[in-house]
Symmetry: C2
Subunit: 316 residues, 2 copies
């Protein structure tokens, strides 16, 4: 979820909020604010990952994520309302999957123009509910207000075993980089409305090959890999030939289009042999983590290396 905050770009808002004590949503990792009511919320991991991570019990963390979707930015009003609702929840489930957790409870806020028919609202909820059930998510509440454009906010809780949770910060030089599916042209093909969050893949990875870092691709491969590189303080070489592309997508689109919602993760090389032993999922190796100083590089068909920018699709 925080990816988009960081897209404020010129404002450098996320840095502002991280660095300025007393300034805004400044959550210092490990901060223990003491409220007047004597309790101390303790943040395990705050701004800078797909979800926040806070204590739950001796064995588990509580994961918290929120996503706001706006008409004209994340969907068009003419899109089928069931798919609009479905996408809103799917984005949040994808965030939980990217942390190695399982989703639990969803809260839905919906702003709708007064001139929209009630069937629109019903269909948005139906689309959410149809996705919620197979993913074990209970929609436990919400808020509905009148707005000029359709706006949906999903807040989703999840849980992760303390040893299962995967941050963006664990990638190490030598790790291999993988994605769970083809990239590019998600918006023009309608994939962004219909994708299935990669929760099964995440469960498999957490149980069998704990990734060192993981993120879901919402801003585009280059940008989201950029987040891993930044948090892990490493560089990467991507193999142009190996990046799986959706039908009709070129390399540029696979690198920079957003909203693929595939998982992007890194695994120590010694575990890579493991893939041969399972046929359930296809994980695509697309490159390698290298030392920080090298930055983000693309190796083309001839073996030539070119520096690329960790930029991508921006919602702002």
């Amino acid at each position: 979820m925080f990816t988009k905050l960081s897209q404020l770009g010129e404002f450098g808002l996320i840095e502002l909020l991280k660095n300025c004590r007393g300034s805004g949503a400044a959550v210092v990792e490990g901060r223990k604010p003491r409220g007047v009511y004597g309790h101390e919320p303790y943040v395990v991991h705050g701004i800078g990952d797909d979800t926040a991570v806070v204590p739950l019990d001796a064995r588990r963390y509580l994961l918290l994520t929120t996503d706001m979707l706006l008409e004209g930015v994340h969907f068009e009003r003419k899109a089928p309302p069931r798919l609009i609702g479905r996408k809103a929840l799917a984005c949040s489930i994808s965030d939980i999957a990217a942390m190695g957790g399982v989703p639990r409870y969803a809260l839905v806020s919906l702003g709708v123009p007064g001139n929209l028919s009630w069937t629109f609202v019903r269909d948005v909820y139906q689309g959410m509910d149809a996705l919620a059930r197979p993913f074990g998510v209970a929609i436990v509440g919400g808020d509905t207000i009148k707005s000029t454009k359709v706006v949906i906010n999903i807040a989703l809780t999840g849980e992760a075993g303390k040893s299962d949770v995967v941050y963006r910060s664990g990638a190490r030089a030598g790790d291999q980089i993988f994605v769970t599916g083809p990239l590019g042209k998600s918006l023009s093909t309608g994939w962004h409305l219909k994708f299935t969050p990669r929760l099964k893949e995440s469960r498999y990875l957490v149980r069998h090959v704990k990734p060192t870092a993981m993120i879901d691709i919402s801003d585009g491969l280059a940008a989201d890999l950029g987040h891993i590189l930044e948090e892990s303080k490493v560089g990467a070489v991507l193999e142009e030939n190996e990046i799986p592309r959706r039908a009709g997508a070129n390399v540029r689109q696979a690198l920079y289009d957003g909203e693929d919602f595939e998982l992007l993760f890194t695994v120590p090389r010694r575990k890579a042999a493991f893939w041969g032993r399972q046929k359930q999922f296809r994980f695509y190796p697309i490159g390698e983590i290298v030392p920080h100083a090298k930055g983000l590089l693309l190796k083309n068909k001839t073996g030539a290396l070119a520096k690329i920018e960790p930029r991508g699709y921006t919602h702002f």
Copy 2:
């Protein structure tokens, strides 16, 4: 939070969602959806209260609430951004207080027009953070997108001891009705931007005199008392003379204006003598719970009873 969903009124959306299986956010109390990942979120209390109530551990429930605030509906853009941020979080803390819980972790989604200065965003967060600290709330994450109007969504978690949680459904004939402060003219006086959530009062009540039902007044006294009457299947007689009014507010405004954010609660009569023994808070007795068939009645200065409608300020 659900109050507003119910304000869809003509749509009867909340009833639709409650009653239609497979239709939208249908959360049947006690529903145990079994996801493909083998876990079973169990909803203790879903739609129809200030927060959702889900299991946390042997001793406590997890409270979940979400509130969406929109420019032109809940605040004007010319309002000080610190106060806009403050109000957004205060509304959610008030929801947690109304359940007898303590707030813990907040997620902030913010939609802002591209032409707004970055200081606006910073100030919104600063206003939130300034309120979060004394209330022991950690702002652990968020999402920021570009929108045409300013829109803020706060999702807040809280905790309540299993024996502390107070629903809307427990009021019984004979209970006395109380509010925590004067009502009416909240919007015109600016109270709605500056109120302090009644968390201290809620902690006191939960520890010393467990209320039978509680709600925060966001839609107006008549409307929010109406929610208690509906959920508890009881009626009420309000004493016109006893209803505390903000300076300049008339009875009508005290009954129907919204956004007071005082707590409205019911207590068995035998406990009422207790109030005399504490001087920390002032709780205003305003009437009595009566059998359901009587509906909602207002007793005027002469002792005459008049039926009033459980309607109020509507955000829709």
